[in-house]
């Protein structure tokens, strides 16, 4: 059970690629990576979850917390690369209505793990 977070900043957008499983064990690590980011007014953050193969409410909780922080700085947070299963989690919790989620290009999901 592992989690890797890679940060690649491009132009003025902070890109995070999250790889692995997000649960109660790995969520603190994810949270640390995200909160280490210095919050600037109007900042833009993209979170790429295309290589997340498991996530539960602890992961959603981290994203909710980070989203609130970004919003408090008038920033923008975009989640991308969600497979069908992950998207469903955002959907049934109502978070897809609140957060900006970028659809996978081509519309194909890759639900295989």
């Amino acid at each position: 059970m592992n989690l890797q977070v890679e940060q690649v900043d491009k132009d003025l957008v902070h890109n995070f690629k999250i790889i692995g499983e997000i649960d109660i064990y790995t969520a603190p690590k994810l949270k640390e990576h995200l909160t280490n980011l210095e919050q600037a007014e109007g900042m833009e953050v993209e979170l790429d979850l295309s290589e997340v193969n498991y996530m539960d409410s602890t992961g959603l909780g981290v994203f909710v917390g980070f989203y609130k922080e970004v919003k408090a700085h008038n920033g923008k947070m975009v989640i991308k690369g969600l497979n069908q299963r992950l998207y469903r989690l955002f959907e049934i919790t109502g978070l897809s209505e609140i957060m900006q989620i970028k659809e996978i290009e081509g519309g194909e999901d890759h639900a295989s793990v």
Binding site: M1, E21, D23, Y54, S57, T58, L60, T93
Partner: protein, 157 residues
């Protein structure tokens, strides 16, 4: 009483073992013939229950054990999660569990409510007992769409 196979997994109430419990559920669910999506639902629901137990144990500042009891029936998987750390009689525990309490009276997004909300959404039936420690009891039926025909009263309701 319907025949069932019973499997119990006991792990320390520590975050690093939630994934182990999840893998056990995945293996059992696949043994029963659940679909890929159903197995993923079961993994999340079971993880939520074990996560709650682990968080509960952390508040107590002493690390106990979480027991994941799984009853495999022909048509369903029943899971009981307790943070007692004590072994229990599956059938007896099931009888003691009262009617479902509404966790989500405020909002599913309030702190701590998300996991419970997910369990309720992903499983066919969820019941919770707050006695000594917390017991979560949940059921998922094979080959059944969520929300379909599981409203008939059972001994627990």
């Amino acid at each position: 009483m319907q025949a069932f196979d019973y499997i119990e997994v006991k792990v320390p109430a520590k975050p690093q073992y939630v994934g182990v419990a999840r893998l056990a559920i995945s293996g059992l669910a696949s043994r029963l013939g659940f679909t890929y999506d159903e197995i993923e639902d079961l993994k999340i629901a079971a993880s939520e229950a074990v996560t709650n137990a682990v968080q509960h144990a952390y508040h107590d500042e002493k690390v106990g054990e979480v027991i994941l009891g799984c009853a495999l029936y022909e048509d369903r998987l029943e899971i009981v999660v307790t943070d007692h750390g004590k072994s229990f009689d599956f059938e007896e525990t099931k009888k003691k569990i009262g009617p479902y309490q509404d966790w989500n009276e405020d909002s599913p997004l309030r702190e701590g409510g998300l996991g419970l909300y997910l369990m309720e959404t992903l499983m066919d039936e969820v019941k919770v007992d707050h006695g000594e420690g917390v017991i979560v009891f949940m059921t998922k039926y094979l080959g059944r769409e969520r929300g379909e025909g599981h409203v008939k009263p059972t001994v627990f309701s």
